[in-house]
């Protein structure tokens, strides 16, 4: 999926998509992650690290997953923002790039190995096997909770409110 079109509106519900779970695949530091498409309201490009991004009519926290995961800052200037539907108000994840859409079914999904017992168990729902490789399936609620400004350095900025 290219970011040449800056905004993607997502409207399909889980019921419309059938039994398969539709997910958006994105990359952070070379690892591919999957997030439930139903949790995403749009995807916008982040032209450079200091850019403001107008995402909703309300303020929206930007959570850089590199910071949350303890990874070094991205070398690439141009990154992507996933704007999430969130009961507590819109929130956005900064990722390196958006890769593709994928349909995951129950046999594709695997629990995190038991040795993982830290915060990662909140961040990640499990792992998915696909023909293209293993995807890490994120748990949006756990990531947003971990990224609350009073709990993590991952919440980097506030986006500008008021645009469409």
């Amino acid at each position: 999926m290219s970011l040449s079109r800056p905004t993607i509106h997502v409207g399909a519900s889980r019921a419309e998509l059938g039994a398969a779970r539709r997910c958006l695949v994105f990359a952070v530091a070379g690892v591919h992650y999957a997030i439930d498409l139903a949790r995403i309201s749009r995807v916008v490009a982040l032209p450079h690290p200091s850019a403001f991004v107008v995402v909703q009519e309300a303020g929206c926290a930007l959570l850089d997953l590199r910071a949350l995961f303890g990874l070094p800052p991205a070398a690439a200037q141009r990154r992507a923002v996933l704007v999430l539907k969130n009961p507590g108000g819109p929130a956005a994840l900064v990722v390196d790039e958006v890769a593709r859409l994928v349909s995951l079914t129950a046999p594709d999904l695997h629990a995190l190995p038991a040795v993982y017992a830290g915060a990662e168990r909140e961040w990640f729902e499990g792992l998915a096997r696909t023909p293209e490789g293993i995807l890490v399936v994120v748990r949006p609620a756990g990531i947003l909770c971990a990224g609350c400004p009073d709990r993590s350095p991952g919440s980097a900025a506030l986006a500008v409110a008021g645009g469409k």
Partner: protein, 143 residues
């Protein structure tokens, strides 16, 4: 000793240990717990709080956690040695893989053996004693 390409792992003698080497440190693992020794071509570095947990590997169609035993051995911090040689071992919570530099051999474990048991990430316990360093020599053999 190194089943590859779909070969079934050979059973190892009960009551024996496999002597392994990582970063110049010799240690052992009960041979009965070793499922396989294999070249792991790649891994997924799963972000986590414990740096000893390196990620996961896909091995024989199974997702297996990859851990680093180097810190428990005093062999240094986490390594990123993949692709490379890994031991896949049976632990309480299932199979666990960990990188090693070499597999030196398998030897019987005597009843009078005095062993240091070192808990490692992933629920595996490795064994250490000086004799392994003496028996297998101090100079690493050519790969």
């Amino acid at each position: 000793m190194l089943p590859r390409g779909g070969a079934r792992p050979s059973p190892l003698p009960v009551g024996s240990v496999a002597v392994l080497e990582l970063a110049g440190v010799r240690f052992a693992l009960p041979a009965a717990t070793i499922l396989e020794v294999a070249i792991i071509p790649s891994y997924i570095p799963l972000p986590c709080q414990d740096p000893r947990h390196l990620g996961v590997v896909l091995h024989r169609e199974k997702i297996v956690p990859l851990v680093d035993v180097g810190a428990a051995l005093g062999a240094g911090g986490p390594r990123r040695p993949i692709p490379g040689l890994c031991v896949v071992a049976r632990a309480a919570a299932g199979a666990v893989a960990f990188p090693v530099d070499r597999v030196l051999g398998v030897e019987p474990l005597g009843a009078d053996s005095r062993l240091d048991r070192l808990p490692c990430p992933g629920g595996i316990t490795v064994l250490r004693r000086e004799r392994w360093a003496e028996r297998h020599g101090h100079q690493p053999a050519a790969d």
